[in-house]
């Protein structure tokens, strides 16, 4: 054991070379360790965040971008799609579950996601404090959001447009926090969830103004006047809709009823009622529908014909409200594997939307990245080999300059083997110290990196088995690098070394 103390002392007495050796080794190890950590993190979080989603339907554009933006919440959305069109996909018999997402705003860098409660349930998220949202402008915070922003149940906040910290403030639409989620819900930890209606509400004022310019003042939209068109949602064809067009939609009533049955979309009741009121008041006073409306409002009996006419009127209003509606993406879970072939093709060929498979896109992303990672891995191994050589040179030079020291050790009673182990001990120590430094470096980078790139913190990660393997490699590299100097030390001709030293 004393040999190891001696090995350590010998290294410390030459701090320059020793630090260089350890540093070089540490850099190589830290790169490999970081690759291991990143690989693990990416695999885990991707798997977790795909959450069984089979397909994402969104606006045309890069499929990878669509997946990144609506599944991993890491990129900008590709654009919006019509809720109505999306609903038709959702009705497909091969679709087991569909979840609409409406994105666009954020609060302090955390994305506000309009989605039904089904969405967080994909991630098995559960409310830790408070309860799920029920109405528009209520919000449930992911665990990290609550922790970082300090918002509590009952607090209010408003979003800004876009995903940056600064943007157009929607300060006339106040969200109220109704609940905070438990941690460990993957990407949902970093999201603010709210009903889709909230997002519509925040962004739809402008549409209303275009639709019902004459009502604008009564509807107290003055605040938003200066802010039209800044929003992609606002540039819609629907702004040119007329009542005639809406009448044509009656032909689709069956389909509509079908997706009502599928239990799809929760309508924002207030804007629906608003729509009915507006349309009633737009009718001439002697229109039969005005009378029926009054009767219904007062709870009076109406005939079957009147009821049918009123239902059609309401349906029309419902459609009108819905037709305008746009969402960012629709997440689908298939009922069977057969959907894999049919649905994406159907969407990509027959609609203006695109379908992207999270699994496929992630594979594509990894194959894009894997080349870079492979290069990095090779680089790291080259650095480790070079640091092995550096250890060899370091030990060799110290030995050459200090053969007399080895001779002295022998004179003092150290056997050949002891001297051999002294040198290999030095090599192994340098390598192990390098490994340790590398592990510390990688953990440091791992803790520091998220704060530099505004990513959620990833926390300390225990040592991985690959890193234990790396320690084994490091150990053997150290031994290998020191074998030649150790053999040289083992073979030291004490007599010759002492004589040479005396005459030097």
């Amino acid at each position: 054991m004393y040999v190891l103390t001696l090995a350590y002392k010998r290294l410390v007495s030459r701090p320059g070379s020793s630090i260089l050796s350890v540093l070089l080794f540490g850099i190589g190890v830290s790169i490999i360790s970081l690759i291991v950590l990143a690989d693990r993190q990416v695999q885990q979080s991707i798997e977790r965040n795909l959450a069984g989603i089979d397909l994402v339907v969104g606006a045309k554009g890069s499929p990878l971008q669509l997946i990144l933006s609506s599944v991993l919440h890491a990129d900008y959305p590709t654009g919006n799609i019509s809720m109505q069109q999306a609903q038709r996909i959702a009705e497909h018999p091969l679709v087991k579950k569909s979840v609409p997402l409406a994105l666009g705003d954020s609060y302090k860098g955390f994305r506000i996601v309009g989605a039904p409660v089904d969405y967080p349930r994909l991630y098995e998220a559960s409310v830790e404090e408070g309860e799920w949202y029920e109405h528009a402008m209520q919000a449930v915070l992911g665990y990290n959001v609550a922790r970082r922003t300090g918002l509590n149940v009952g607090d209010t906040f408003y979003g800004v447009h876009g995903f940056q910290d600064v943007g157009h403030a929607h300060d006339d639409h106040i969200y109220t926090v109704t609940g905070i989620l438990q941690p460990g819900a993957g990407v949902v930890d970093n999201l603010i969830l709210t009903p889709v209606e909230s997002v519509w509400k925040v962004h739809e004022e402008h549409d209303h103004r275009e639709h019902y310019p004459e009502k604008e003042v009564q509807h107290s939209h003055e605040k938003n006047r200066g802010y039209g068109g800044a929003h992609e949602n606002h540039n819609r064809e629907s702004s040119t809709h007329t009542h005639d067009e809406h009448h044509m939609h009656n032909a689709n009533t069956d389909a509509h009823a079908a997706y009502e049955q599928a239990g799809a979309l929760p309508l924002d009741e207030s804007s629906f009622e608003e729509n009915i009121e507006q349309r009633i008041s737009a009718l001439p006073g002697d229109d039969p529908l005005v009378k029926i409306h009054e009767k219904v409002r007062d709870g009076k009996d109406i005939s079957r014909e009147q009821m049918e006419a009123y239902q059609a009127f309401m349906e029309e209003g419902r459609r009108e409200v819905e037709d305008d509606r746009e969402i960012t993406a629709l997440l689908l879970v298939y009922r069977s594997a057969a959907a894999n072939i049919q649905i994406p093709r159907m969407i990509n060929e027959t609609t203006h939307m695109q379908a992207a498979s999270p699994a496929l896109e992630m594979n594509r992303l990894f194959s894009l990245l894997s080349f870079g990672i492979e290069v990095l891995r090779w680089l790291a191994w080259i650095i480790i080999v070079i640091s092995g050589m550096n250890i060899f040179v370091h030990l060799w030079n110290t030995l050459r300059q200090g053969m007399h020291e080895i001779a002295l050790l022998r004179v003092l009673g150290a056997g050949r083997l002891k001297v051999f182990f002294l040198l290999t001990g030095q090599g192994a120590m340098l390598a192990i110290a390098g490994w340790l430094l590398g592990i510390l470096l990688s953990r440091g980078v791992w803790l520091l990196l998220p704060s530099l790139y505004f990513m959620p913190g990833m926390g300390l990660i225990a040592i991985q088995w690959q890193e234990i393997m790396l320690l084994v490699y490091a150990f053997f590299t150290g031994l290998l690098a020191s074998v030649i100097p150790a053999v040289r030390a083992y073979k030291t001709d004490v007599h010759f070394a002492l004589k040479q030293y005396a005459h030097a």
């Binding site: 001696l6 010998r10 150290a414 056997g415």
Partner: protein, 233 residues
Amino acid sequence: MNGCLPADFFTNIAKNTQKSMLTANQLKYEYPGGKGLAFPDLNCGEGESMLIMGDSGSGKTTLLHLLAGILQPVSGSIWLKDTLYSSLTASQRDNIRGKEIGMVFQKHLFIHGLTVIENLLAAQKLAGLQPDSSYLSDLMQGLEIYHLKGEKPHRLSDGEQQRFSIARALANRPAYILADEPTSSLDDNNCRRFMDLIRQPLTPKPVSWIVATHDQRLTKHFSTIYHLKNPEN
């Protein structure tokens, strides 16, 4: 790691031997180049000191290294107390040397990364002995280097290094100290001082000094002097 001898092997030998000695008979050594050297027989009892005189090239260092078990003679025998060197394995010889023989060199040698006291402890540990700090403290005090115990040896003056070298040679309470030209780079004063130091009773049991030198100043201090002749070519 240390040889296979039991720790009390040598003390037992010392107890069982009437008169412990370092003896060399008919020693011959041959350098790899083929140049041969023959040495006179040599007998050094416990506590006796002797001088080995000879010019450079006469084989003084070689003789010391043979006596220390560093080199192996081609013929002849060396006994340390009851032990015949040629009957030992290499690691047993290393072990015996560590425990029984101290060495002092003309140019001072030390382990670079260790302090004075650590160097002395290293001598004990490498010989497989229990570290004995109180003995080392006494030794350093006797040699007036106690105040330097925390210094690195290379920071010491020549005189201090000389005393440090003697302290290390004595660290394991050896029976013999082999000194190779210990005074040749010293002036007269320091040379006298060296002789005073090694005659000082620094250890509980007497130590035999076998000094190899060409320094004539030392002859008057030794009663036993061996002369080595230059080999005839």
